[in-house]
Subunit: 482 residues, 2 copies
Amino acid sequence: MEHYGQLPLNQSQTRTGRKREDILTLSNRVGDTVLFRARVHNSRAQGNKMCFLNLRQRTESVQALLVVTPERVSKQMVKWAAGLATESIVLVEGVVEKVAEPIKSASVSDVEVHINTLHLISGVDGRLPFSVEDANRPEAEVEAENSQYNRVLLETRLNNRVVDLRTQTNQAIFKLQAAIGKFFRDYLEGHGFTEIHSPKLQGAATESGASVFKVSYFKGGAFLAQSPQLAKQMAIAADFERVYEIGPVFRAEDSNTHRHLTEFMGLDLEMTIEEHYHEVMEMLDGMLVNIFRGLRDQYTNEVEVVRKQFPADEFKWREGPEGTFRMTFKEAVDHLVADGVDPEVLDDINTENEKRLGRIIKAKYDIDYYIIDKFPMSLRPFYTMPDPEDPTLSNSYDFFMRGEEILSGAQRIHDPSLLCEKMKQKGVEPDSMKLYVDAFRMGCAPHGGGGIGLERVLMLFLKLNNVRRASLFPRDPKRLEP
Amino acid sequence: MEHYGQLPLNQSQTRTGRKREDILTLSNRVGDTVLFRARVHNSRAQGNKMCFLNLRQRTESVQALLVVTPERVSKQMVKWAAGLATESIVLVEGVVEKVAEPIKSASVSDVEVHINTLHLISGVDGRLPFSVEDANRPEAEVEAENSQYNRVLLETRLNNRVVDLRTQTNQAIFKLQAAIGKFFRDYLEGHGFTEIHSPKLQGAATESGASVFKVSYFKGGAFLAQSPQLAKQMAIAADFERVYEIGPVFRAEDSNTHRHLTEFMGLDLEMTIEEHYHEVMEMLDGMLVNIFRGLRDQYTNEVEVVRKQFPADEFKWREGPEGTFRMTFKEAVDHLVADGVDPEVLDDINTENEKRLGRIIKAKYDIDYYIIDKFPMSLRPFYTMPDPEDPTLSNSYDFFMRGEEILSGAQRIHDPSLLCEKMKQKGVEPDSMKLYVDAFRMGCAPHGGGGIGLERVLMLFLKLNNVRRASLFPRDPKRLEP
């Protein structure tokens, strides 16, 4: 084979089994001849005898150098390399060499690769919608005076999500998304939880008919589950004791905000309680703190990569013997009133006041994470257990990150007659959910749980300012593609 | 509090933090007074001074004994206990005592609990549709001559799934279901895969319009994803290198068979290949064998529990240096022809012949698991890479367990012009999937993958004879509840 050129389309013609390298490991391979597949992040010729290539693999990159040499590297080869389109995928063979000065433009800064052979595996057909370099640039640099950089708008990114996802920032964001799921599961499995998978197709609109998607189902109709709420409670009635699920949640709300998606990933759990629903609240808290700690301590590199594009204060929570900061709904209202909010609007705490409360707590305690307990019964769904002393209050809680809600949960009603009573009060006909109510007639242990929006946790931990950035292919009322 | 009686509805009134036990640990607690929550599996009075209770927690059970004693246990208390409905949930305090003869009716056979106090946490309201004991009985016992046992039909079970799921068999089945997911993830994360979550709501009907569910989406329409195929391939084009997903898959096929569901869990993966698609096939194989080995070695107890109700030969595969048994599609056809099947019907291998092939391979090699490689191009979707030598063949494979397909996969076409050509040949308009095709125009590494039906793996490993038994709340053309 020639020293350069386009390879035939890979249809699995050959299998040499020759090892190919990760760019990340090249620092330890000085003097070795290595083979690796990478993207051309950029290339620049210097005269007609030399060409520099920046080669990328996910969050890593290395500088490679092609210089005319007798026998091996021709002028034609250098010209061909200099003409390679950005984002082409190439197969490189070269020698790893130590460099005198650190290379700032690459993540691997102490070595470069002197190319012997260079082949095109997959080219680019047409024009890129934007460059990955532009897409990876911090907003501040784009906005700086005299900046010549192209801004890549969120819409453009999402329309061309495949290219957008190649930025080092996005590669890191989705490693962190996977890490959150992993910490969630590991913690819960360590505490005796079983993973379940509940159906997303439902025979009846659940919880409330308003915000549910309708599906054509053979000759009839079905609905998309708004959460695994009913199924996970039925799993408790079926003696599963402690269950969790990671699965899509569908909300047909026409909300075009920075934090709403029509489809998002729910991290859900439900568990029996022995005596008190704070057993659940504390489990959720322990699990979330375990996630925060895991991201901070085990994913330092990925968090750093994201902060280069999205600068943010470190996410803080209260550790030590005192534990996570908690307040009741009433105390939260008191904080807001003391800060000047009109008490008359505080039957509920709207998004604006949620954020204000976040700022108050941040200013007072320097923390970004806290729990509000004891929500008024009127604000919670029918399946929420009322407080034993004050029937206007409920055994329910929300968890917050940087002033935005990420988790909602409660003790549930496991008594069928109280459940039916509360359903009627909220305008839900018990007969429309007969099999759910029946589950409690067959005997059910006291239980509680909660549901977390995965994308919100990710967005708020990293301060990404839009939940779409935390979703691989986001869905909202106006977006169903790609 | 009295020594017995109904507790007030638990609304989290108190929190003593007093430890409650797992039945499983009682063998080590001889002489101790213990407290635990359990279901009344059954109760039988002996005269008016004594009552035996079989108490159950998931797959475990223990015998408890209530005997009239001065001061503590009255005749009234024994009468009350004897009257407790099966499936009630009780809180028991008692002393653990060694027994002389093993107790056959309980999973904990070496001790029993002498009850001091007994309280009802949650009663049963109405009649149970069937007893958990009946639901847990092996078919052979029900069918035995002179059997007086009630058969519980699958329909009845599924209509009352919450009670059915309480059987020890089902408790074990769903622990095994969770274990399969865990082994899948652990293996892939150990091999550099990242978990992704792709949208189930799609703007266009994908792959083929025939078997897709339509959703009302605000003022327009959407479709439910038939698999994460397109999204996971786009993740590869976006440089994720190796991805996996565990998520629901929706198929609008009106198939009322033992192995079809309209919603099932897909275990999906996609990875770049360096040279040859057998890199993917071997990854899938290694991962599946890791699951089989894990279930056999780490879940012996659960597999045993299931086999009591569903007797089955041990699931076998070829280990050692030879590795998993593989054959080409052509070799599979040859096996069938040699067994007497008319070659004219073997352009495709239908379900019946799939099973026949399973029996042939079982008889010849004593294995239940094998791979068929090199399917004809005509049988595979448009995105399948053709074989480099013979364009009528493809770089694609199916995996089988006990003569049924559980996994389908292939090398994919990463070249946009070949992709468009194959789309047109299969009657798919490339423009209808523009963003998908565009992903490959922006440069994409060679790649392949596969998708596994979680419920099928579970059903076939355990030989459950119906996929609905392997789904928590199964969905089929006639069932959307519970």
